[in-house]
């Protein structure tokens, strides 16, 4: 039992953290968001470092690492609130690598891993980076479908989160093909008993685990910004962080952030190491992250007082990202319902946990 990153994973995290601190400052994020564009220089650099293919096999041009390493990078990009299409591309590639058929891997992975092609992930109602994507990875009912750009019309959707591009997707019912082609997808793609909508597909679970990892970074940044602010800002002659109401709020932010972190790490680990645990682990991670991201970033605005409500302060980027990430996760409620259904199923079968 070792519930922490390995030394190699910590090193990836450290390098990513430092790189993004240097290359994706708030000034850069703000410039990209206000221009409604991605930070192209940042993206070029991430591609040159091979980040999009972090969880793609070397034979397809990737780094050959796994879901935990992907989660590590996503957390750091979430922390930076970086204006880049990394989440969509790297997560789509990871899902195709893990669950796709040989043909799907050969077709999409080399271009995604190099960053030459882009991918959209999400649903028809809300798809991150859908416009211009070569391939769309859509969580569709209780499965995941791959749609070629030619099979769908992506229309830009202007959301409250200008640090990322979103779209709605119009496509014929049944367009595209199942990711993994059903039983053809190998062990990770095996059919599971149908459960609550979308919660039982292994590719969907991986995608949600990845989004949850980004949220952990968003929440962590919101917490750190808040701690720095309340130690600095003085009223009544003392730092506002000396007030118990503010302290309790910060303690709750830590609890929510760490809860999301525990479950996101668990889901990322299970994705590669314990597939039988993934349905539950991904639902835990999604439910924890959707709520934690929203509540922690909302608390960050509140703890910043009036300045937190201004466009000039940077906490709102995190709040907006957290809101859209929660929407991409499908909200917390469906995952809580899925958890109840999984538990009821286990209890009816007379099994205890683990």
């Amino acid at each position: 039992m070792h519930f922490d990153l390995t030394e190699d994973q910590k090193e990836i995290k450290r390098v990513a953290h430092e790189l993004l601190a240097a290359r994706s400052s708030w000034e850069r994020v703000r410039a990209a968001a206000e221009g409604a564009e991605y930070d192209q220089a940042l993206w070029d650099e991430l591609c040159s470092l091979g980040w999009p293919g972090i969880a793609v096999a070397e034979e397809h041009g990737g780094q050959g690492l796994g879901a935990v390493e992907l989660a590590v990078l996503l957390e750091e990009l979430g922390y930076a609130c970086a204006a880049s299409p990394f989440l969509s591309i790297a997560t789509a590639a990871a899902a195709i690598q893990a669950c796709g058929s040989d043909a799907q891997r050969a077709r999409w992975l080399p271009a995604l891993a190099s960053g030459e092609a882009t991918a959209g992930i999400g649903t028809r109602e809300l798809c991150a980076d859908g416009v211009g994507a070569a391939v769309l990875v859509l969580l569709d009912g209780d499965g995941v479908r791959l749609l070629d750009a030619a099979d769908a019309d992506a229309a830009p959707l202007e959301t409250i989160d200008p640090t990322r591009r979103y779209a709605t997707i119009a496509a014929e019912a049944g367009a595209g093909e199942p990711l993994g082609g059903g039983a053809a997808g190998g062990s990770a793609g095996r059919a599971r008993a149908a459960g609550p909508s979308g919660a039982t597909d292994p590719a969907a679970d991986r995608i949600r685990a990845a989004i949850a990892a980004e949220v952990v970074g968003v929440a962590q940044r919101a917490l750190e910004l808040t701690l720095a602010y309340v130690k600095e800002r003085r009223q009544f002659g003392v730092p506002v962080g000396a007030f118990q109401a503010v302290q309790n709020r910060c303690a709750q932010m830590l609890l929510d952030t760490e809860s999301a972190r525990s479950t996101a790490l668990y889901a990322a680990w299970a994705a590669d190491a314990a597939p039988e645990r993934v349905p539950e682990a991904a639902a835990l991670a999604a439910a924890a992250a959707a709520d934690a991201g929203r509540s922690v970033t909302a608390s960050a605005i509140q703890a910043h007082g009036g300045i937190g409500f201004t466009w000039e302060a940077d906490v709102h980027w995190l709040y907006k990202r957290a809101q859209l990430d929660a929407a991409l996760l499908g909200g917390a409620r469906r995952h809580r319902a899925a958890l109840t259904a999984l538990a009821a199923e286990r209890i009816a079968a007379g099994r205890t946990t683990h």
């Binding site: 990153l5 701690l227 003392v238 303690a251 760490e258 790490l265 835990l284 809580r336 209890i347 009816a348």
Partner: protein, 380 residues
């Protein structure tokens, strides 16, 4: 990152499981506190005979030198087997390790074995009516008289005092010390003497786990000072900081079992289809699993860095909150059946109110998180 048990851990678990299967504790006596305690005492004797009473103690003192993870496994398996905590849990988790750290050779030889076998039960004389969360404000006095100390004062919330032979007692030996946490001394006090009066406190459950201790001229020989006169605060911190994380795993398993039961009873009533019910149960499931995962993260942090990470301060708060929400939801979903006196759900509902007070109130835990983990300025 590996959330599976390694070979040593698996072997430890399998050996323990086999032992527990062969040594079932049997059903808990119902409705009689003394009989229940006797059952737990007998259970500890059997654990001790099997070498399982104090897995975290070093082998030289009768333990197994278990790692933190093995200790966690021990408590999880105890919970899974629906076995009770050993009767002398305060002796095993608090008194024993504190004596190992601060005790003289004579003190270790005198006390450790009877703690292990439950021959001598221990209680903890720390809290007072005006010194709860603010322990250093304690007023109980110890005055030197020849080679003895004479103790006068009052302790409260003393669990299992009525069964105890010994008390971990902190008293003020130097009332003129400049700071309130100075001038304290830690005593090993014999409970079987005239100067000690035990008055049970009746709880909102109707039970009496806790007691008040009235100390009026109780006597403790010099030989039973632990860690030196005037050093009581440091020794008390050893007791308070002692690794109790194993308990969290026991409590987590108990909560899991309670939630499983609630889900089963909810399903029987056809209420699982109600989306509000499914949402609330799912939230409890999430919180219960977060507790387990976060507790394991905490163990890894201690094993890696020698001290708990930020997550280590959160588990007790999470547990008490979740257990209260769980029992409240049961009362809401099951209605009068869960509110009928003497039923397990009614007991759990009432007992859970103590969770956020005992062993550190949630309010104080939040303050500790804010100041020590988040580094916020001292509260005003």
């Amino acid at each position: 990152m590996d959330l599976t048990f390694n070979a040593d851990e698996t072997a430890f678990r399998d050996e323990l499981r086999a032992w527990l299967t062969a040594n079932e504790p049997g059903p808990a006596p119902h409705g009689d506190e003394d009989a229940h305690y006797a059952w737990r005492r007998d259970w500890q004797r059997r654990l001790a005979d099997g070498g399982w009473a104090a897995v975290h103690w070093p082998a030289e003192h009768g333990g197994r030198g278990a790692t933190l993870t093995q200790s966690a496994i021990f408590y999880e398996e105890l919970g899974n087997a629906r076995a009770p905590l050993p009767a002398n849990v305060l002796g095993l988790l608090l008194a024993g390790p504190t004596i190992m750290t601060w005790g003289t050779q004579e003190q270790k030889e005198r006390h450790l074995v009877p703690i292990l076998t439950a021959e001598e039960i221990w209680c903890q004389g720390f809290s007072e009516p005006d010194a709860g969360s603010d322990l250093a404000a304690l007023k109980t006095r110890a005055v030197k008289d020849g080679d003895e100390w004479v103790i006068t004062g009052q302790k409260v919330w003393t669990s299992a005092a009525q069964y105890s032979k010994w008390c971990m007692l902190v008293a003020r030996t130097d009332p003129d010390a400049p700071k309130k946490h100075q001038g304290l001394t830690y005593f090993l006090m014999d409970m079987e003497q005239d100067g000690v009066e035990i008055v049970p406190l009746k709880q909102i459950t109707g039970e009496s786990e806790f007691n008040e201790l009235f100390l009026d001229g109780a006597r403790v020989p010099d030989a039973n000072v632990l860690g030196g006169v005037g050093n009581g605060w440091k020794v008390a911190l050893t007791t308070l900081m002692n690794e109790r994380s194993g308990l969290a795993f026991f409590l987590q398993v108990r909560m899991r079992q309670l939630l499983d039961q609630l889900i089963a009873e909810t399903a029987e009533r056809g209420l699982l289809e109600d989306p509000v019910v499914a949402d609330k149960l799912g939230d409890l499931h999430l919180r219960t699993e977060v507790l387990r995962l976060t507790a394991y993260r905490g163990l890894t942090a201690i094993e890696t860095y020698g001290q708990p990470g930020p997550e280590g301060s959160l588990t007790k708060w999470m547990w008490s909150d979740t257990n209260q929400q769980l029992t409240q939801l049961a009362a809401d979903l099951l209605g009068p059946e869960a509110l009928t006196a003497g039923t397990p759900w009614a007991f759990e509902l009432l007992r859970a109110r103590g969770n956020s007070i005992e062993g550190g109130t949630t309010e104080v835990l939040k303050n500790i998180v804010a100041e020590r983990v988040l580094g916020l300025p001292r509260m005003r």
